[in-house]
Amino acid sequence: MTRAGSSGLPRLPGALAALLVAGLCLGTLVPLLLRAGEGTLGGADWASLRFTLEQAALSAGVSVVLAIPVARALARRRFPGRGALVTLLGAPFLLPVIVAVMGLLALFGRGGLLNDALGALGWPRVSVYGLHGVVLAHVFLNLPLATRLLLQGWLDIPAERFRLAATLNAPVWAVLERPMLRAVLPGAFAVIFALCLTSFSVALILGGGPAATTMELAIYQAIRFEADFAGAAQLALLQYALCGAAAALAFALSRGPVLGAGLGRAVERWDAGGLGARLGDAAWIGAAALFLLVPLTLAVLRGLGGLDDLPGEVWDAMGRSLGVALGATALTLLLALALALKGGALAQAAGALPLAASALVLGTGLLLLLRPFVGPSAAALPVTALADALLALPFALRAVTPALAEVEARHGRLAESLGITGLARLRIVVLPLLRPVLGFSAGLAAALSMGNLGVIALFAGQGQGTLPLLMAQLMGAYRMDAAAGVGLVILGLALGLFWGFDRGGRLDAASR
């Protein structure tokens, strides 16, 4: 039995944090179960279940299949801007979904570039609404993640194997790449499938109607339009089970951290030197870059144009959004730090629980819990911050846990031998050395919360919206220019918060 590390750090807050997280994620089941008995699921509900599964499977499938040639091209080519492109592939995680949808509408929407071009040629226009629109948006949001996951798979193949294959003149695809993909693809598919199950904003704007309603959207409509709490509870239970199963599957199938660094190098290759392969790779990389950059650029350009049309409510909404984002950030950091300090399988499990929860399920449970005591509009902002904090927690914990382990491994014994224990250990050693990773986690939580539209849509009363809700309402009223302006404000704030926190954490920091 070693003594080091077992006594030096405060652990009680972690137990409380684990209880709180588990209480929120599992405790919301109770009101759902209590209310769900009162209703029955109708045909429309089963249709939304079917649609949810269908769109998630299609989105994940298309993302992963398209990611194969893109990741392979990135893995074996070196070119100027490759690093920037790989970094850009990490950006959609921070990109507010609703802003991404705005960008896609500017390209593929009714008045978008594509339809303008088709119209000029005299060809029929295409609609971006419905199943294919939802899938398109999900592929836009998840192709980068899929590419990063597969690129990691390619870079995990030791360079010596490629050398060996080259000397033996063995087919690289059959010997190295296909086995790697067989190992990596299921996990990538499962992760993206799980992410697409909880899609709300995309379905709210591009879906809708009996043919294209996701579970999340159905829950929202049951509460906001029909005040059918029993029905919402049933849907939420079903969604809960679905997401739990999908998250467990993704967890079992996926390997390695999603946010992993170290994608910087390209592997030396001796196959694929031919002109055809080179042109093919260039085409894939170029197409992927355009697919990601054009909608983003359009969203920004349209937003710049829309800044003049910003409605008066935007300032109040900005204040509320900032308050929610900063509150969620503080809570995420506290929970992540407490759970990481506690350590152990239970704390890690508690930290992963929110992966199985969706914003709308959490929101519905909390709404049912709170309704007897306070009006939904009074609780809107705190509950939104709480839910945002929970949803960011798994990612923060994933960043903080290994960093804390490293600090303890390097400096734990020295601290112990100097009698630096308990809160003093936290203040003198742990917090200063964790500052970079805490800054990164804070930036992540703030950006995610700033762009998140979910719980707030369930709770907010008149004049209570955050920026994403205001933007969705403007889009619903076809005030696209104003919506684009708000979108640009959201994007600027989300990226600005991330940059500020991340940079603040690294400023003048000593390496661990």
């Binding site: 014994r413 100097l418 009698g419 630096i420 003198i428 000593a510």
Partner: protein
């Protein structure tokens, strides 16, 4: 006096036993093959590893119940002896009290210790701004202010070149053992043992042997040590 009383250590499947005494004020080298248990022995004395059986006694007092920070033991590790985010002065002052804001007299003591090891002008620097030798000096300065009667060193200067290492050993002699501290130092190098230790504890084959005078041991090493020294 340090006494290891029928000490039995276990780390995974690795086992080590020790039953020996080290006189107060002695300088002892700990030698033996890699993986033989030298660091494990020091970890048990420092309080990082609880023994399966037996006791660690200092002047007759059982150290078992004491956490590492409360033992009469100062430690110098192989590396990471300074916190990278703190200045040399803050690092040294932590040897007096776990606080980042030393009181005036604590600060004066830390400054005096830094001056004693030749780092008087470097108190404001962070470890990354110090050379390897200077980092070793700062760590020695902290041992100095800690003023613990027993000092454990686990190959503390292994990363330094030969000349610098000799200098650090000399400084260790002057500032620590010269003041009556008892020293146990793990080393791979017979020259280190000759330079600083009057006796050697050989750790090999699951046992830490009682100290033997350095000259006699190195002139006629036991088989396990002979195989290791080559």
């Amino acid at each position: 006096m340090l006494r290891l009383d029928r000490l039995e250590l276990e780390l995974g499947s690795f086992r080590l036993s020790a039953d020996l005494e080290v006189a107060r004020g002695a300088s002892v080298a700990v030698m033996g093959p890699s993986g033989g248990g030298k660091s494990t022995l020091l970890a048990a004395i420092a309080g990082f590893l609880a023994p399966q059986a037996g006791r660690v006694l200092w002047d007759g007092r059982d150290l078992g119940p004491l956490p590492p920070g409360q033992r009469p033991v100062g430690v110098l590790f192989q590396d990471n002896n300074l916190f990278p985010h703190l200045s040399a002065l803050q690092n040294v002052a932590l040897g007096i009290r776990p606080s980042l804001r030393p009181r005036a007299e604590e600060r004066a003591r830390a400054e005096a210790a830094l001056a004693r090891v030749g780092l008087g002008a470097f108190g404001d620097r962070r470890p990354a701004q110090l050379s390897g030798g200077q980092q070793g000096r700062a760590a020695l300065a902290r041992l100095l202010v800690q003023d613990r009667p027993l000092v454990l060193m686990d190959e503390p200067f292994a990363a330094l070149g030969p000349a610098l290492k000799a200098e650090m050993l000399q400084l260790t002699r002057e500032v620590l053992t010269g003041r009556g501290a008892t020293l146990l130092m793990v080393t791979h190098d017979p020259e280190d043992a000759r330079a600083i230790a009057e006796s050697v504890i050989v750790v090999a084959e699951g046992r830490a042997a009682p100290p033997v005078p350095t000259g006699r041991l190195l002139a006629d090493p036991p088989p396990a040590l002979r195989a290791y020294l080559g």
